[in-house]
Symmetry: C2
């Protein structure tokens, strides 16, 4: 019996959600979109997966209404991917799962710290601001490297850009340093 | 390039969490454990997956410290699986993802409604009780079929037992009706 792509006999909202974001790499693509990654080549550089896998996952996420695809450049045309309003609501489960991973599956403390951009308070376990008493929308969340970040781990331009404090959903293009191509 | 089982280059708590619960079916096994499923054959009946897949996933979840395995019967020995304290903390991400699936990937409304056992109020989007103002621990959550439940979809004894209102983590064994074997 093969393991298919859906969970047809599971009459359950969790199974439906996993059909959208449960495929390998899909949730990390959505995470990167929250972090401000929008361009195909930037996803490719940061995720380091085969082009065909990335293409397939992006197509599925667009078809499911999680991402929107729109051109950011003409001649040659290049497409960027942005979270839809439904996609942005994945912030809560992704944040909750990351906090679980931080507590139970990681060593050395938080890789990334998420705080309320308005007041600087670190978000609580469900993504609320304990100071302001509000559930913080992703565009009001500031991300920065935490004590457990392994800064030497990845040195590609996208990883370096993502390591700078910035708001979620803020496009990282302007944070990416120009690549210095060796002359040879 | 093969898609491996881990996300070694992703220095991220979400990637670590997905290495634990991101494999196909793993999160639905954890969901069933919250719903009170404990015995191998009950997982098998409800998930309807190959035995070898279930065996492998349960073993991984035990190794990762999400489930504990302990005998519930001697001669022949039979094992049951219970969520550890780390496993029980997966309630928040699983609940958040299910609510997302309910809003954006399901039709016909909530399959399952989760409420605070103490006061009967339906949980809010992050799993808190709006009446009592507390984040509700899973053992204090009551589950019952919602307006979108497809009651005729599954008629195996485990599905029927799970369709009765009960608290999360309450073992469903006593809710399962004895199977009437046809005499022939």
């Amino acid at each position: 019996m093969a393991l298919g792509m859906d969970y047809a006999q599971q009459d359950c909202s969790l199974a439906r959600a996993l059909e959208v974001v449960g495929e390998r790499w899909s949730m990390l693509i959505v995470r990167d979109a929250f972090y401000g990654v929008r361009r195909f080549n930037d996803f490719l550089a940061h995720l380091n997966i085969p082009r065909a896998v990335l293409t397939g996952r992006l197509r599925s996420l667009v078809a499911a209404g999680v991402l929107d695809k729109e051109p950011y450049q003409q001649s040659p045309v290049r497409y960027g991917y942005n979270l839809t309003s439904a996609g942005r609501e994945l912030w809560l489960p992704i944040y909750a799962l990351a906090r679980w991973g931080e507590r139970h599956a990681s060593e050395g403390g938080a890789r990334t710290v998420f705080s309320h951009a308005t007041c600087g308070t670190r978000l609580d376990i469900v993504g609320s601001c304990p100071t302001c008493g509000v559930l913080v929308a992703p565009q009001d969340v500031m991300m920065r490297p935490g004590p457990g970040a392994v800064s030497e781990m990845r040195q590609d331009p996208v990883s370096r850009a993502l390591g700078r404090p910035h708001r979620l959903l803020e496009p990282i293009e302007q944070l990416i340093e120009p690549t210095t191509e060796p002359v040879g």
